[in-house]
């Protein structure tokens, strides 16, 4: 290698680029690296020390005997540049055209911590962090099998993000893996700072408000999905992974359901699904009933509603929109502030504003209860992106309800259902196993079945190997007192 290649002048513009000659006797070694991403200890104690002790060795021999695992020789300028930017140190010598690249990468990042968005009481408390290697380490630890495949790609012209696509060979359908690999490989975007950017680009329908891949930060959930035959995508720098293909129903499944006894898990799951429906429809039904179908309310209930609303100057739809928007406001304000101040804002906003609004006759007590309940119900959705969707979905329903009452709500339902019917996730229908109807895969949908009936993977993932365990072997026939 020549003294200092002139391409390297480009690096000298950056102040963290270090280049120097080291020599004991004879031709000096040219050593360069970015000090911001290089571990100076490794460099000093292992590399430089070794070089100075074995200065007499020829370049090739030195390379082979250097006691560092990740090292390579290259004379390709692009490869050298990429490695340097990843924390490698480049070592050159005039006697040889190639450059030695040695990994001395320093990675600083968060340590593995508790899941905060998908928090749970029971079960493991371990969430992904920003470092891809840590994340892969966490996953591999949970699945120590050779068939767990990790394919790495690089996306983003500027960010050069490393993307890992994990699946289990022999379980996951190749078609989904191929689709995923191809879409990630084809995506064009300069800076991929988070997995959500990849998600938005590779989703089947980017113009839908429904997420078609499931984002999670829980390693146990990722492992579970991999064992079912799903594919998981991670990106360096993002503490979230996305899982696909998924069905609509997966977004209402909290992973904690699997840790609870199946009856309790199922009941909680059903409560969650009911509350989602409630959350979407409650305020729209309020508008519809109060604006058009007042005679549908029962006689005993009538005075309560009318007496609470009689001094409110707005029509129900304006009242509802004001309330819904103020709840959204509270939520946004709470989300942008540190958690302690956020709580205060919540209390101030919720109690003080709510009471004041009722006393000032800006809203009825009854609506306040409905809006608060439906806001609360929307928080029960375990996947954050879906709970955003549900927040937004309310508004078209309210508008349709204002236009044509209950009929409007029905029409809006049809639009939403049609949209859901046409959606796919990595090519798999979104509403499966309800449509197309797969009765055998219905077990893990509305209820969380006991593990005794979980002997097959859901058929809609079209897995290579549908059997989870041998049902016959597990079966124990027992008589009374036997």
């Amino acid at each position: 290698m020549p003294a200092i290649p002139k391409e390297w002048e480009e690096f000298r513009e950056s102040s963290d680029f270090v280049i120097f000659h080291q020599s004991n006797h004879g031709e000096p070694y040219l050593i360069c690296y970015f000090k911001s991403i290089t571990d100076i200890n490794i460099l000093n104690e292992q590399i430089l020390d070794y070089i100075s002790k074995n200065a007499g060795l020829p370049f090739d021999e030195l390379f082979e005997s250097l006691p560092i695992a990740e090292k390579e020789r290259s004379s390709d300028w692009n490869a050298i540049r990429n490695k340097l930017l990843r924390g490698y140190a480049a070592i050159g010598h005039a006697s040889n055209p190639a450059t030695m690249l040695v990994n001395a990468c320093l990675s600083k990042g968060r340590v593995v911590s508790k899941p905060e968005i998908e928090f749970n009481v029971e079960g493991p408390k371990e969430a992904l962090v920003e470092s891809l290697d840590t994340n892969l380490n966490l996953i591999r630890q949970r699945l120590p099998v050779a068939s767990l495949r990790i394919k790495e790609l690089q996306v983003g012209d500027l960010s050069k993000s490393r993307v890992a696509i994990c699946y289990i060979e022999g379980i996951a359908n190749e078609q989904y893996v191929q689709t995923c690999l191809q879409r990630v490989g084809d995506m064009q975007f300069d800076s991929v700072t988070d997995i959500t950017i990849i998600q938005q680009i590779i989703e089947d329908n980017s113009n839908s408000i429904f997420p078609q891949m499931l984002g999670t930060e829980r390693t146990d959930r990722i492992t579970w999905s991999l064992t079912l035959g799903q594919v998981c995508v991670l990106v360096d720098g993002s503490p979230n992974a996305i899982i696909g293909p998924v069905t609509f129903e997966h977004f209402f499944t909290s992973y904690e359901d699997y840790f609870l006894p199946w009856i309790i898990g199922s009941i909680i799951r059903m409560i969650r699904i009911t509350s989602v429906i409630f959350s979407i429809l409650a305020s729209a039904v309020y508008v519809a009933v109060l604006t058009y179908h007042g005679h549908g309310i029962s006689n005993t209930f009538l005075p309560t509603i009318i007496a609470s609303r009689i001094n409110v100057p707005f029509p129900p739809v304006v009242e509802v929109l004001i309330m819904e928007l103020s709840i959204e406001l509270l939520r946004e304000a709470g989300a942008r502030l540190p958690s302690k101040i956020g709580q205060t804002i919540g209390i101030v906003g919720g109690i003080v504003l709510g009471t004041a609004a009722v006393q000032a006759a800006l809203t009825s007590n009854f609506l306040l209860i409905i809006v608060a309940l439906s806001a609360m119900a929307s928080f029960t959705t375990p996947v954050f992106r879906m709970s955003n969707t549900i927040r937004i979905l309310r508004f078209p329903f309210i508008l349709f309800a204002q236009l044509w009452g209950l009929l409007g709500i029905f029409l809006c339902t049809f639009i939403v259902v049609t949209h859901l019917l046409r959606l796919t996730s990595l090519g798999m229908p979104y509403l499966v196993p309800f449509y197309p109807f797969r009765p055998k895969s219905l077990t893990d949908t509305l209820i969380r079945p006991p593990y005794a009936v979980f002997h097959h993977r859901p058929a809609f993932f079209r897995t290579r190997n549908p059997v989870r365990y041998d049902k016959e072997k597990a079966k124990l026939k027992k008589d009374i007192d036997d």
Binding site: Y292, H295, F410, L421, R422, F437
Partner: protein, 362 residues
Amino acid sequence: MTSPIQERYTVSPYLTFVIVHAMLFGIDFLFASVKPVLIAGQDAWMSVLLCSLGIHIVIAMMYRVLNRHRTDLMSIHIRLFGRWIGLMFNLAFAVYFLFVTVYHVRLFIEVIQVWVFPDLKTWPLAAVVLLIAYYIISCGFRVIVGIGMFSLLNTVLFATIFSMVPFFHFNNLLPAMSHSPEDILSAAKELTISYMGIEMLLFCYPFIKTPEKSQTWAHAGTLSMTLLYVMEVIFGVITFKPRQLAHEIWPGLTKYGFIQFPFVERFEFIGASATVLRLFPVIGLCVWVASRIMKFTFAVRQMTVLPFLLGLVFIAVCLIPNRIGVDAVQSWIRLSGIGVIFVYVPALFLFDTLRAKVIKTK
């Protein structure tokens, strides 16, 4: 002339059940029981069974023809009658299906105008309904059938008749067999209109994966509808006196008036609004078939022809002014429906069988 349908656009055979169910459970279900009950009284359930038997035979005939040619009716027409006559037949069917669409949309709007919003104008609702229909149809056959599947919720709503048990008078079912066979037959004739829609199978056939297997499901769908019709007819008999029923236009909706929940005292407007569940699968399938025929005949894209067809339907719907107009369309549809199911299909079957025999002997 047509290439085989790609597998990812086809549906599983069991969805034939959904297609049949959705087509037969249309809006006319709400009043289909009136006339038969007025004619055959408490024996009307026998007319239902009789009519359904006829339908089963027709379905069997349809499948014989379809299985022999392994394609849909459009290509069969060309094959049997030559290009020009075949195309004429196809266009006639397209017109027929468009009329069924017009009829259903107008009927739906009438239900809404009578039961929910008396001052609702026809055209805005028609426009919105057809826009949604456009969205549904443009998503393709699978989605249309999916909407049919979603509409099975209606069957749950049908179960609400059990909330009327206190008003049932089982005495009305007696004396049994008090009507003459002529009455029962003519009641069965009145009922055929409610079984209109199975001719849809002639066009959906190539869109069904392993279509031979779907015949069982078509029969099952008809059977389940027969059950619902028997229940509806019996319900009409035991809840109303005949003279009372003669005043009712929509006994299927009146029954919602008896349901009561702690918060909700009236169920009619929920039931009437839920009529959309009956509407969309029917118009989705009908317009889809009509646009397919257009594509087949004029070699245009379905997406291009769809807005035109829906526009035609929209204009036709707005032109039907009132109850009298609806009744006129209804009687026309009834006539052509009976014609298609009980005259045209058997004739086609006979012709096709003879033709096959002749070819064989040659």
